[in-house]
Amino acid sequence: MSHPHDPDPAAAGDEPTHADHTVDALCQLDREMLAQLDRAVRLSETSSFAVIERVNELRGLSGRLMDYLHRAHAHSELIQGEIDRNSATIAELSGFIRQLPQQNQAEHEFLAHLDAELGTLAALAAAPAEHAATLQARIAALQEDVRARSGARWSRRMQSNETESRRLEGLTEQLEDGVFDMRQFYAMLLTAITEHTTALDEGITGLLDTAQYQDVVKQIVDRLGPAVSDRHSLLREMARLLQLLPRLAAGQTRLPVDDTLAGLAEQAARLVADYLDNEAQHRTPEADDEDEPGEQSLRIELF
């Protein structure tokens, strides 16, 4: 790729000139920059696909949670019905318990009455015989009282109490079962929702991680800027030198064009080397998969 006006001493043969070296280096730089741009595009595509995939996963997770909550809501109405029934049971128990002191009081009063009567009878029994009629009358009255208490009405009342106690005992067992089920219902609901929300949270974190690849792409593009700028300076300098070639050929100038072209070739080679070194300093996110678990890369550049 020699130029007819190239003042390079090697121009006479097939040896590449300084200008060739410069152009080759700049071509290499272009290839490296294009490779990095390709990489940025690939990263961007990978990132987009990953985002789509994660968003779909999140939508699936969210949908499952919504379905679950919808069904759990219907279930909670069953629980609510149970709570209402339990309230009624508790009210019944409460009513039964509330009337017990009154019932006990009546029993207590009757026993006190019996006790008082027995005391009177004991006194009468120890008294002279003329009180025998009174004694008999009091005993008859006492018998009447006891009969009244142990009569059909009293039996029915006691039987009713017994039936009520058994019924309330059944309700109490049901109440205990219901409370156990309700407790387990809410515990399980909470566990499942907490677990699922944790999964959603991890999914969102993953989504944010994926979104950070945009920053990697931006940095790759940003780093192209200085290299392109240096490349432009080189091209401008080379153009300026090329403009001098006719004058050099005509002997109108004695500028050290050759040295300058050699310098440009070196600059171009250094530009390529610097660009590659600089790129190598930055972590390639594609290499993340190669890391051992927990290994922290020194070159990670996300944010």
Partner: protein, 124 residues
């Protein structure tokens, strides 16, 4: 020979399921509640599959599934449940699925259903 941890508070069911699994060549460890089951795993019991009841005292099945997944994220869990008066079968199984169970098995179940669930849950 796949090793299975079976967690259920019903001793009779544990015995029956244990025998069914043993007939298929599985090595079975038992736990009578979720807390004991999780403790066995935490203490180093190595298994290929966990089968857990959902409705148990002390630690319910949903909590068991979550704890198992924390200890061994890839260890599959089969949730079994018969439901109760207020905790319906549907709710139990929904909760198991949402908590991360790999397979669901409504009680009562037969040998074929158990075999199918174990086959589907075990990797490979």
């Amino acid at each position: 020979m796949p090793r299975i941890l079976l967690i259920d508070d019903d001793a009779l069911l544990r015995e029956t399921v244990h025998q069914l699994l043993a007939l298929d060549g599985h090595e079975v460890s038992e736990a009578e509640d979720g807390d004991i089951g999780v403790r066995l795993l935490r203490e180093g019991l190595s298994v290929d599959l966990v089968i857990t009841d959902m409705l148990m005292p002390v630690m319910d099945g949903a909590k068991v599934i979550v704890e198992v997944r924390k200890l061994h994220p890839h260890l599959p869990v089969i949730a079994i449940s018969g439901g109760r008066r207020l905790l319906t079968l549907q709710f139990s199984l929904d909760t198991a699925l949402l908590s991360g169970a790999a397979q669901l098995l409504p009680k009562p179940f037969g040998r074929a259903a158990l075999q199918a669930a174990v086959r589907a849950a075990l990797p490979g």
